[in-house]
Assembly symmetry: C2
Homo-oligomer: 135 residues x 2
DNA sequence: CATAATTCCTCTAGTAACTACAGGTTCAAG
DNA sequence: CTTGAACCTGTAGTTACTAGAGGAATTATG
C-alpha cells in the first residue's frame, strides 16, 4: 500500500509519516521503482503503535524507546513499567499545574462583574493587587 | 536599574526580557549612552504583570491583549472576563485530556508485573491488543 | 490514447516560547 | 590598569508539527 493508504490505515497523516521517517522514529519505507513509499501490514501495525503511544502523551523520543522495548522480546516488563510510571508522574505534575491556574482564574472571574464597568479584579490581581481571600 | 536588576525584581530573566522586547510583548526599554537597557519601577510593574499572566497560562499573545486591557482605563470588565473564561475552558480541555492519558496508563501499569519477565500489558495495549476491562 | 485530476515526491520555512551559544562592549572593583 | 562580571547583538537549536512551492507519477475520464 502507498503512503495515503497507510495514512488512512494508521491514522497518521502522510505528511507526518514522512516526517517520522525523516527524524528516524520509523525506519525508511520500501520504495517502488518510481520512488513511491510502500507499506505493509506490519508497518501499519508499527504505525498504530506509534500513534497510540503519542496519544498517551509520550514524546517522540519516549515513543522510540517504547518501540525498541516492544521489539525486544527479551525486555523486562519492569523497564516498560518504569517508563509508564515516570510519564504518569509528569502528567500528574502538569495536571496539578493547570488545575492551580484554573482555580485561580475561577476565583478571580467569580469576583469580576463582567459588564461595561472597567474595574476588574482579574486585572487587579494580575497586576499584583491581591484579592482578599474570602468566599 | 539595569537589565539584571530588573530581572531580579520582576522574576523574568534578562534573556527573556530581551526576548520579550524583541517580539514586541514589552516596549523597548530606555537606554544609557552606551546602549545598556534601563528600567524604572513602572517597567518592573509591567514585567510582573506579564509574569503573572504567563504564570496563569496565558499565551504571549493573550498576555499582550491583557496588557492592553490593563492599560486601557476605559475597558469593559466583560472583555477581561471573557478572556479569562475562554482560557479556563482551554485549561479544562487540556486537563481532561491529560487525565484520560493518566487513567489509561494507571490501568495498564496496574496490570504489569514490572519484573524481569518480558510479558507486559502496557506494550500489548499500545500495540493494539486490548486489555479486558476488569477491576 | 490524450488530458485532467489526484497523489506522490523533496525541500524550505513557519509556528510557540524559549534556551544556548558566539563574539564583542562596558562597567565596577582591586 | 587589568581582570572579570554583566551587558550588547545575532544566530541557531529545541519539540512536534503544519503549510506551501514546485515537480513527477499515477489514475480516471472523455
Amino acid at each position: 500500500m502507498n503512503i495515503g493508504e497507510a495514512a488512512a490505515a494508521s491514522g497518521i497523516s502522510a505528511k507526518m509519516l514522512r516526517y517520522y521517517e525523516r527524524i528516524g522514529l520509523i525506519g525508511p519505507a520500501q520504495r517502488t521503482e518510481s520512488g513511491y513509499r510502500v507499506y505493509g501490514d506490519d508497518d501499519v501495525h508499527t504505525l498504530r503503535f506509534v500513534r497510540r503511544a503519542r496519544g498517551l502523551g509520550f514524546s517522540i523520543e519516549e515513543t522510540a524507546g517504547l518501540l525498541a522495548l516492544w521489539r525486544d522480546k527479551t525486555r523486562a516488563s519492569a523497564d516498560v513499567k518504569a517508563m509508564a510510571l515516570r510519564h504518569m508522574r509528569e502528567l500528574e505534575a502538569k495536571i496539578t499545574e493547570l488545575e492551580a491556574m484554573h482555580r485561580t482564574l475561577k476565583h478571580l472571574a467569580g469576583h469580576c462583574h463582567g459588564d461595561k464597568r472597567p474595574d476588574c479584579p482579574i486585572l487587579d490581581d494580575i497586576a499584583g493587587l491581591r484579592l482578599k481571600a474570602d468566599a
